[in-house]
């Protein structure tokens, strides 16, 4: 007696429901963390501006010898360009705390993703539904590498907008119309496009860490954090020790950077920017905004895709995620 007609449900919509489930469970980390950081930072900025204003009222406030009220009339085209560069740099780097928080949130999210529901036995509920293990694991990859960074980007954009509004208000109090200086649509949109492009780039770069953490999460019967962190570090220590013993021609620096580092820290946003190109920043002269822009240029991003470091990382990440899916099939127990 089939009282209910069978609805047809596409795999895509099942997948989206599973991503939504991850969002329900991790709303605090994914959504509220970046927004709260943005709000707190804006509150501090507002306090700083108020303090500056009060000090200025008491002592008369000057910038580079120019009284602030005269600032607008004293700026020429060259200075204006420098100001834009500095503003862009400020707006980009302002998101740093949100990025660090994103790393921490996603790191622990991935460690618990295939472990917590085994520890509290709710895996038995999820497994009682017609959901494939492949979709389940991939929905968690998507939640950590796409959904969480999208919310972080929203938080960063909110922070930038809030900062610009504060600055405009401050300038307005001093009778300066800051709109043409601060609100350049082309700069802002270009920056947000960059933020959006960075999400898939960071996601691919982060695959080895994501894969490793999910692997530990689905494999460990207890304490996935210890396994995930101690195993690579002990391996690194061992390699260093063997090298110190001069037994083999092993380069421990290479191991720390490419195995331990890539396995644990690739979730840090933009960590694919290599140290050598960061060093180039020191010689960037008086236009660091431009140099940062170059680091994040589409050309530099495209170069990353071609590098073996990037591609081997993607392959290793995919292999570890596949292994976690395989483990997920029959691992339903864990000790809380």
């Amino acid at each position: 007696m089939n009282t209910n007609a069978m609805k047809s449900i596409t795999p895509t919509s099942k997948f989206l429901w599973q991503v939504k489930r991850e969002f329900w469970e991790h709303r605090g980390g994914f959504l509220w963390t970046p927004l709260i950081i943005a709000a707190v930072m804006l509150a501090f900025m507002a306090m700083a501006l108020v303090t500056a204003e009060l000090t200025a009222r008491q002592h008369g406030f000057t910038l580079n010898g120019i009284h602030i009220d005269q600032l607008a009339s004293h700026i020429d085209a060259d200075e204006m360009a420098k100001f834009q560069g500095a503003l862009d740099l400020g707006l980009i780097t302002m998101g740093f705390p949100i990025r660090i928080a994103l790393f921490v949130v996603v790191f622990f999210y991935a460690l618990g993703a295939l472990y917590n529901d085994r520890a509290d036995r709710s895996v038995l509920f999820w497994k009682s539904l017609p959901l494939s293990d492949t979709q389940t694991v991939l929905s968690k990859v998507a939640a950590g590498l796409v959904l969480a960074p999208v919310f972080a980007a929203i938080g960063m954009i909110a922070l930038q907008l809030g900062f610009l509004i504060l600055l405009s208000l401050y300038a307005g109090i001093h009778g300066i119309n800051a709109l043409p200086y601060l609100w350049s649509p082309s700069h802002l949109i270009a920056m947000w496009v960059k933020l959006a492009v960075l999400i898939p780039v960071n996601a691919l770069w982060a695959l080895p860490t994501m894969g490793w953490l999910l692997l530990c999460s689905s494999w460990a019967r207890s304490k996935p954090f210890l396994w995930a962190v101690m195993l690579p570090i002990l391996a690194g220590v061992l390699v260093t020790w063997v090298q110190l013993m001069n037994a083999f021609d092993l380069r421990s620096g290479w191991f720390w950077q490419h195995i331990v580092g890539r396995g644990l820290l690739s979730l840090i946003p933009e960590s694919w920017i290599s140290l050598s190109s960061l060093k180039a920043l020191e010689h960037a002269g008086d236009d660091p905004g431009l140099a940062i822009g170059n680091l994040l240029s589409f050309g530099n991003i495209a170069d990353q895709f071609a590098s073996p470091n990037f591609l081997i990382g993607v392959a290793a990440g995919v292999a570890m995620i596949a292994t976690s899916i395989w483990l997920r099939r029959s691992r339903v127990e864990a000790y809380a």
Partner: protein, 285 residues
């Protein structure tokens, strides 16, 4: 009719421990089967194998599918309540209904909402705010709204008070069960469900030691209350089990002619619990 569950030589070991030892099963549609055994007898292992949650040796077919390779497909037709503690504590009731509705092709939202309306559960509540009894009401409402062929219950009422336990089985019988559905249930509270069972499976140390319909159980087994003077005569008939009550002996017999037993004393139909104790004696020794 094709069997709902068919197992041949189903075995499972964990290291040196044999959890399932060459188990054969044949569960037909429209039955309510009680799988009963002491702790560690292999009940949960058997259910896990049927649900595709554990590897095993031997042949096992559930609704014609191999649970190891067709788990996702199978779970459209099979529902499962492990025990009260498995609903994730962070989940909101409303979200749970949305989610199951979103991923399960045989879920009826209307039916689920109707079932929940009979309880005190509100859609905005989280599972962690519900009592144990309410969690099981929620889980049951979700599962009963799914038009599945096989429902597996593993100690579904563990830790609930008698009101919730009664309500649980009453709901299942009145609003869910029909001749197209099959229920496979394990529980330690056998006395509460024996009247709803159609079939009985006893499992002991990984082996099925009794596989019979409840009707057959009634015909095969008999309990006789015997005065001390007749006790030796009763023992000669090789009873399964003997216990003493108020100076009389109660013997449990398997397959002895009822007329013969009636001569020894007062004849009773044994309860499943008595049968269980008799069958499982020596398990923990």
């Amino acid at each position: 009719m094709t069997a709902v569950v068919q197992a041949n030589g189903l075995s499972k070991r964990y290291g040196n421990t044999v959890a399932l030892d060459n188990v054969n099963l044949d569960i037909q549609p429209g039955r309510i089967v009680g799988l009963v055994g002491p702790n560690g007898a292999g009940k949960t292992t058997a259910l896990k194998a049927i649900l595709g949650l554990a590897e095993f040796d031997g042949r096992l077919s559930v609704l014609g599918l191999d649970p190891r390779t067709h788990r996702t497909e199978l779970m459209q037709q099979v529902c499962f309540i492990a025990d009260v503690a498995v609903l994730p504590r962070w989940l909101r009731v409303g979200d749970a209904v949305d989610f199951v509705g979103g991923v399960h092709p045989r879920f009826s939202r209307e039916k689920c909402e109707k079932l929940l309306a009979r309880t005190k559960i509100k859609p905005t509540q989280r599972v962690r705010e519900l009592s144990k009894g309410m969690i099981v009401q929620l889980h049951l409402a979700l599962v009963m709204a799914i038009d599945a062929k096989l429902l597996i219950l593993d100690e579904p009422t563990l830790g609930l008070d008698i009101l919730y336990r009664k309500e649980f089985y009453n709901n299942l019988l009145s609003d869910y069960f029909d001749e197209q559905k099959t229920i496979l249930v394990t529980t330690h509270q056998i006395e509460e469900i024996e009247h709803i069972l159609t079939d009985l499976l006893f499992i002991k140390e990984g082996r099925i030691v009794l596989d019979a319909t409840m009707d057959a159980v009634g015909e095969r087994f008999a309990e006789v209350m015997v005065n001390p003077d007749q006790a030796d005569a009763a023992r000669a008939l090789r009873p399964l089990y003997e216990r003493q009550v108020f100076g009389k002996s109660i013997f449990l017999f398997d397959g002895i002619d009822k007329a013969r037993l009636a001569e020894l004393g007062e004849l009773h139909k044994p309860s499943v619990a008595d049968l269980f104790v008799a069958t499982m004696q020596g398990t923990y020794a």
